[in-house]
Symmetry: D2
Subunit: 342 residues, 4 copies
């Protein structure tokens, strides 16, 4: 099976290469980049030296690609997806173009007219733990954002069972710096970021409508929540700390049982033993997610923590998981490695 990667020089692109090299059925045959076409990939990224990855191409996708991973800025993928689909290519979009169901919401948050609104219904939102059956056989996957993945894994089962009050949800999320991408800026400068911690995009981060959309579907009604991301002086990892009022009479055991039922057969989502709280490093370099909760009886709120690696379960790993599902391969193929510790 031939796989191609558009946006191969970004962090998500590099992570796709690293993971796909471990995938027994996938062969990377196309690496595309608008900015670095012609460069030898392994000289740009010497961690791969000797892998025979060849040169970067421009963004013209060749015909022999079976599965195309798109790790491009928003807008660029949607404009070309129809052509790829027509050529029979499976498209897994790691960008934002097909995550939001409503093109108006897309325009509001991404300041762009959606380039292909007619394709939105063709796309499935790629969280396998929620949409496994819908993903099978699809040709277009909207791979979720990193913050939404961590948040939705923690909340969707509880909302589906109506155990928490949707409108009370507050998501206080923390991300490593790689979430900002490979572009150099003052905001990613080591000397500005290290030994520092800050919130950003307060009440205006683009992952907000994506989270609200999916959780509204889970809850069965539309609602708004608070989502505040923060920047942690580390490279990888997301931890979402989530607060919600529980429904009348709901106990901690009920909440936990709900999670355990939802995730008992999931290889990549782990409800931790009581009192072991998620750490982002549990997930480092792996496709695994870690969950914990506690009901604070003093206030009637449940506190949830959910941890993933933003570049794996939050991007490249989940994308490969989706590819495996589409192609009928074992879902964990190439994704078996556990977290790097220390």
């Amino acid at each position: 099976m031939n796989v191609g990667i558009l946006g191969a020089t970004g962090y998500t692109g590099q992570e796709l290469v690293r993971l796909l090299q471990q995938h027994p059925e996938a062969e990377i045959t196309f690496l595309g980049s608008s900015s670095s076409a012609g460069a030898a990939y392994e000289e740009m990224f010497p961690q791969f030296i000797g892998s025979e990855l060849g040169k970067l191409h421009d963004e013209q996708v060749p015909d022999d690609v079976d599965v195309l991973f798109c790790a491009l800025p928003h807008g660029l993928t949607a404009a070309r997806t129809a052509e790829w689909l027509k050529r029979g290519i499976k498209v897994i979009d790691l960008g934002a173009d097909f995550r939001l169901k409503d093109p108006e919401v897309y325009r509001t948050w991404y300041k762009l007219e959606h380039p292909a609104p007619e394709l939105i219904p063709e796309a499935v939102y790629g969280i396998p733990e929620l949409y496994r059956e819908e993903i099978k056989g699809k040709s277009l996957v909207a791979n979720p954002g990193c913050f939404p993945t961590a948040s939705i894994l923690g909340l969707a089962p509880l909302l589906k069972k109506n155990l928490i009050v949707a409108e009370s949800i507050i998501i206080d999320a923390k991300s490593g710096v790689s979430g900002a991408g490979r572009g150099a800026s003052l905001g990613t400068h080591f000397s500005e970021v290290n030994e520092n911690f800050k919130p950003y995009g307060v009440a205006q981060h683009r992952h907000t409508p994506e989270i609200e959309q999916q959780l509204s579907l889970a809850a069965g009604h539309s609602f708004k929540l608070n989502f505040t991301p923060h920047l942690v002086p580390m490279i990888r990892g997301i931890l979402a700390t989530i607060y919600a009022q529980v429904g009348d009479g709901v106990s901690e055991d009920t909440l936990r049982a709900c999670w355990e039922e939802a995730y008992q057969n999931e290889e990549f989502v782990h409800v931790l033993p009581q009192e072991i709280w998620p750490q982002t490093k549990f997930a480092l370099s792996s496709n695994h997610a870690f969950l914990q909760l506690k009901l604070d009886k003093r206030t009637g709120r449940v506190i949830i923590a959910s941890a993933i690696d933003n570049l794996v379960k939050g991007a490249a790993g989940q994308a490969i998981q989706n590819m495996n599902i589409i192609l009928g391969l074992p879902e964990n193929m190439g994704l078996g490695a556990r977290g790097l510790w220390p």
Copy 2:
């Protein structure tokens, strides 16, 4: 003026030395340590080499000490405070012994019978921005905890004016590792902490009742809140992200005006210009605190961020600020330095 420090080898102790060396009226004449008595201070801590700080003493406080800073584990200070006060020594306790007004609450959270409950009413809670007048002339100051300082500065003015709903308050706090002290443990091991982020003490951190006590006083009624600390892979700094439902008809301008009125004459507390959000590094090594807020009209909640250096405004710096007030010195004496950047 002669000052002494008990617990001089801990991080708070070292920070007191560093700051007091810059104080024109204070002379460090006594450094006490139960574990390292007899050791040459500057050999243990070569950053001070050539300062003529001499050897560490045991914990017998000599008579010529005018002001005593106690940076000891809880329980140890209270047991000896009466004697020090009797000898005319001003006592500034950087531990927890005199922060809680109710010895029952102390017992519940610190698992210890309070050694000197009769002294609790003698102590003033040392946040100058709230209790400046009470601090003047006092002989016993309960220097606040680091998380409480950051939280209370953000919330107290709004609660006093009844602009937010007390019971809705959620404090999601993040701390650098120095907050855990100088003791070596797996939890402070570089290889476990770096490139990692985690919550800890969920729904059971000892700063919870301290925050609740002070904010209940501000609100005029008793209430409970959620407080969740997290460990950030950095050495210093606290950022508290706070969520609260605003009162009916309360606008962002009203909230901001409340803060500005409260802090207009405060040298160490800064309401940042709109859209500039606090970063812990703004405060690094300084006694300054930084505040920002935003009202999310979609949910009716205000999001507040408050940043300090946990070892300065959250410990040693605020203690010196309190000393200055007690002694009638300019409140900023020795505390003028601004944050280290980068």
Copy 3:
């Protein structure tokens, strides 16, 4: 094939588990620990949750173990190796017990009478790039130290060809903190180590005689060198910067050609393209080593840089590489993953 690990709770032990989980022929059937026997491995190390690794045993190695990895403090392995060998177990010692050929040198540097000097000649020094043929069929491998691996890979080929002056060699090495192990101490405390850089063990580090022994063998005569390790505020990685006077008339091309000949068929050792200097992150989490050199004509010295991951090529990965060779498996089995970036 059943593999066992003694010292399974240390960093090397955890890394062996992580890597062996990816090895198609190895099954981990025994995890031993003197300090944590009885504990559930996955609760101690939740990155492995759901892996069915079971409980930690004490250090009694069961009979069904085919290959035993020993990651124990020095002295403990040698005392029991004879028994294991008698039972037909292949032993790969990641400690120091069998690295030095001369028990006198062992006693001098490790302050211990060697527990089994008669076994020293049975052991092969496990750098496959130097001793591949000797390793095949051996039952006892002395897996090299991390600093020696990085240093020897850079120097041995040049010394064998007599291109540099042995006595002029200076190795200035830098290591991440995981090299100090999982034990908590002030020296590994995050707040002491982060934003800090220091030399340690100057002119007395135990890897000195190991490097000298191997390089003396390569040079064909005995000599001494300078080796200075430093602690870098990062978790993993070693970079050795090496200085040596070149022989008369030796050019940079000659030096490079010597390396290229030595490593042209090596999968795990890479001579980088000119002017691309090794970074430890190239090697992060992988078994690959990266080399570069430059001849400074102004001084007649060659400057060499060599980078590895101390826990992989410097410990667990090289141990598995040695296991593969002993057992006649493809040398890279289970070791294919490339470096984690970013």
Copy 4:
């Protein structure tokens, strides 16, 4: 006394502001920046909020400036220095323009024709510990580079006394990321730099001729050495590890005695007690330098370590020390603060 800063938005510029705010005789009256003229300094750098620093000006230096600190890219200062000197302004150049005595060497290493070679003899090289008497009364100071400061403090006294062999000197230096300045690039991107260590500028760093010039003066003859800088994943700090062959019969005691004589009256340079090796954090945020050495009798080489904060003793602090000397103020005025720990 009115001081001005050109290049006030860079890291050296910010550090000058931070330190000068603590200087009792200096008032910052002019902050110049070619790129940010017109911006409010405290909004760009909120650590200074409330300091009344006003707006950034362009680079036209007003007449009322008594002392001008220039933290500009090379070439820009020299082109305007004559005019400033004519106006009676004392000029302290933190750039490279006046460090090298030979304009040919400047052209070779900086790829630029020196804009004002006739002024080079007017400048004094600003290491007070070597050139205190020459600095007094001068109007133009070439403030040394950070690597040269650390290197020269360790080596100059030993070379003056002819205790080490000049031609054998190897300087293996390590720097925090702030040394690369505030400009954003892939090379300063957090995700590329953190958990990473690398050499750079091997055998071609511009500080090489500066070090060679000063050490040749100390040795009394011209010679070349090896200098290799490395990038440490920390913000501040330089540690130079230095190797040199000692002269015949020279003992460790002789070397140490030489240093102690040279630095016995120096407030900012500390020869540490035996076996306490410099750590960069000893110097963090302070103007102090820390030295240690050991003679390795096995090889006849002395190993020296020298640590400073690159932005203080390696830039802004030393500049203020020079200003104090020029103006006849106490040399330590405004520079009393000790290192920030942890």
